[in-house]
Symmetry: C2
Subunit: 244 residues, 2 copies
Amino acid sequence: MSAEVPPPGALVVFPVHGIGEVASGDDLGQLIADALGRSHLELADGDVVVVTQKVVSKAEGRVVALDPQDKAAKVALVESEAVRVLRRRGDMLITETRHGFVCATAGIDVSNLAAGQAALLPVDADRSARSIRASLHHRLGRSVGIVISDTFGRAWRRGVTDVAIGVAGVAGVVDLRGTPDATGRELQATEVCVADEIAGAAELVMGKDRNVPVAIVRGVPEHWLRPASVAEEIVRPPAEDLFR
Amino acid sequence: MSAEVPPPGALVVFPVHGIGEVASGDDLGQLIADALGRSHLELADGDVVVVTQKVVSKAEGRVVALDPQDKAAKVALVESEAVRVLRRRGDMLITETRHGFVCATAGIDVSNLAAGQAALLPVDADRSARSIRASLHHRLGRSVGIVISDTFGRAWRRGVTDVAIGVAGVAGVVDLRGTPDATGRELQATEVCVADEIAGAAELVMGKDRNVPVAIVRGVPEHWLRPASVAEEIVRPPAEDLFR
């Protein structure tokens, strides 16, 4: 495979190695541009760059001290980041964050951090995405889409998947309503959350255990590349949600 | 891009065109093998072949008559395929199917079918996947993974995504618990539903409006290729589900 040119219509998803440790104040666009250069990879117009939440939180200084033995402190931290606790089972809290995300422990986690630290979600991951997009455009002259991804559980199905918590320059949801299906009849209601599918595809080449916080998705349809927002397109308002 | 060889570690996702109309009794492995041949594409050992539910249901004769104007008949059909209705809003029923899937209208839909027809979910999509896997092995001598995908909505997030309703030869959930993270500490609990991420990645090259019911995902890690089952790995039993 690795020596073969992909067939027409292919999507190519590949990891960006060598980002290294990320610290508060780092310019992620710069780190990504440098890592691509060292890997002899070039960004192309229309690529989608998927960046995991953890490095965005680190770059934005959203890391706090947390004693791993102090369960009360952990619960207090989760409650301070959540607007609501939906379910509670033992230590595990399913929360709604102030962004409207429903996820475990308000999206706070401690993996891939120094002992005694915890990472909070970015304050506004759509803004984080726009900022990385602008930085990459400035440095490399390429116009790309950005997806900030995080790992969430789901109702009804086991296992976690990566989803989009912020986007810039690439659609959250693509509305196919009114598009004729292959029989020529109108499709009834098909709004596809392509940003979540892109985040999940990127996860397949990152892997939790491989310390690869960035992947490139090449070959998405051009008409998906547009101004976009997870907050406006993907977060389902409680009033239209049957499960809150 | 299309003229470039993918970088190391890349996943390549590409559509299989030319499957054509599928009828009850068709051997999907044969149809896929023929379409690949006409497209001058070769299957490789370790590829994952993603097949949408609609063509599996058609091949297995799971298509029934349904007058699109007869709302009572539609509700009766949904109720006959569901074991439980979780939520009801107007015409829209969120149901639990006998497989344990939570989805709208028991997974029944009418797109890409002749007028007056509706497709039911396969009786056992893990079995469907095993059967396609065996047929492709028999015809092409290749050992591949199979994911049967369908399009489901989710709680809390707008837009639908493709997920796995059946698998063969490729993992449903990959358990990374106990794998050291990049800092060398043990990851707490990270069971990743790679089958859903593979289904979503395939959807990105299929598109509801393009009549491409099959895609190939090339480059998944070898250790994901093993006997597997959506029913056993992904369907969350009600007893451990906080949202049923």
